[in-house]
C-alpha cells in the first residue's frame, strides 16, 4: 500500500526563532493584539510504500530522526497519515 505521511517540523521551544518573532511583531502591528508567539517551521509530505499506516508512520519517524529534523534545534510531529 502507498501512504501519505505529513510531518510538522518546528523550531524547538526555547530556540529563538527570529522569523516567527518578526511575523508576531507584524501581526501585532496589524492589530492582532492577542498574538504572543509565532513559530515558523516546515511541513513535509512523504509518500511511501508500507504494509500498514502504522509501519508508514514508523518509517517516517525514522526519517525524521535521521534526516528530516535536527533534534538539537527542532521538534517534529506526525500531522496525518492518509492514502495519497
Amino acid at each position: 500500500m502507498r501512504y501519505r505521511v505529513a510531518i510538522h517540523i518546528l523550531p524547538r521551544e526555547g530556540i529563538l526563532d527570529p522569523q516567527g518573532h518578526a511575523v508576531a511583531d507584524a501581526l501585532q502591528t496589524l492589530g492582532f493584539g492577542g498574538v504572543h508567539e509565532v513559530r515558523i517551521g516546515r511541513h513535509v509530505v512523504v509518500d511511501t510504500d508500507a504494509e500498514t499506516p502504522e509501519a508508514a508512520t514508523e518509517a517516517v519517524r525514522a526519517m525524521c530522526n535521521r534526516l528530516l529534523a535536527n533534534p538539537v534545534i527542532e521538534d517534529f510531529e506526525i500531522a496525518y497519515v492518509s492514502s495519497p
Partner: protein, 230 residues
C-alpha cells in the same frame, strides 16, 4: 603534509582553501569529490564553505550523508584533523563531529562582512601559532551562523576550553554589537573534545595573502603544520 579539500555540489570556498594551503602555506593539497570513498592518505581534511546541496532542508543536512563523509568520520575517529569552515562547520555539526547547531542569523539576513574574533584558546592543534587573547579580522559570509546548543553543552564547551574563537567588537570585548549573528555566548568557533576537529564560521582561508590585508588566517594553517611536524 597533505591536505584534502572536499568539494560538495555547491561548495564555493574549496579553491580558496586550496590557495591558502598550496600558495600561502606551501603545503600539498588534493581536491576530493564528495562521492569519493578514499581520502588519499591526507593528514588534514578541510570541509570548505559554500552551499553544499543548495543548503536544502537545513545547511549541511544533506551533505553529511555524502559518501565521503563516512571516510571523514573514520578519519576523525582515528584522531585525524578536520578543519570545518562556514558551511563545513554546519556540515560537521549535522554529522555529529561537533556539538550544537547553526541556525538562521539573529537579524534574519545573510551577512557578508569583515568581523573580529578573539582567540580564546591558543593551545590547540589549530591555534598554537596565535597568542591567546589576540583579536583577528576575518570575513564572514553566511545566513545560518548563529551557534546554538543546550546549556549543558555550552557549559562543557566553556569549562573544557573548547570555545576557540569568540566574536568581539572593536575594543576586543564581547558585546551585542560585536556579535554579528547573535551566536549564543558569541561563539564563532569550537573544537571537539579530542581536539582534532575545529569548526568556525569566519573564513581564515580568505585572509592568508597580504595583498588582501593582514593575513590573520594564515597562522591557523601554520599551527597545523607545526603540530604535525612536532
Amino acid at each position: 603534509m597533505r591536505f584534502g579539500i572536499i568539494t560538495f555540489p555547491g561548495s564555493n570556498c574549496d579553491t580558496d582553501a586550496y590557495h591558502a594551503v598550496v600558495d600561502a602555506l606551501g603545503e600539498e593539497a588534493v581536491m576530493l569529490w564528495h562521492k569519493d570513498h578514499d581520502l588519499q592518505g591526507v593528514d588534514v581534511v578541510i570541509l570548505p564553505g559554500g552551499f553544499a546541496h543548495g543548503d536544502y532542508l537545513r545547511a549541511g543536512a544533506i551533505a553529511r550523508f555524502s559518501p565521503i563523509m563516512r571516510e571523514v568520520a573514520s578519519h576523525a575517529g582515528r584522531g585525524g584533523r578536520v578543519l570545518a569552515i562556514c558551511n563545513g562547520f554546519q556540515i560537521a555539526c549535522e554529522a555529529g563531529l561537533l556539538p550544537g547547531a547553526l541556525v538562521r542569523n539573529g537579524g534574519q539576513s545573510y551577512i557578508c562582512d569583515n568581523i573580529r574574533v578573539r582567540v580564546e584558546n591558543a593551545d590547540t592543534a589549530f591555534t598554537n601559532a596565535y597568542q591567546a587573547g589576540t583579536v583577528l579580522r576575518m570575513p564572514i559570509a553566511h545566513g545560518e551562523g548563529r551557534f546554538v546548543a543546550d546549556r549543558a553543552v555550552l557549559d562543557a564547551l566553556e569549562d573544557e576550553g573548547r570555545v576557540v574563537f569568540r566574536y568581539v567588537d572593536a575594543a576586543g570585548v564581547v558585546s551585542p554589537e560585536g556579535n554579528p549573528n547573535g551566536s549564543t555566548r558569541a561563539i564563532a568557533g569550537i573544537i571537539n573534545s579530542a581536539g582534532n576537529v575545529l569548526g568556525l564560521m569566519p573564513h581564515p582561508e580568505r585572509v592568508v595573502d597580504p595583498i588582501l590585508g593582514p593575513p590573520d588566517g594564515l597562522p591557523l594553517f601554520e599551527s597545523l603544520v607545526a603540530r604535525v611536524a612536532a
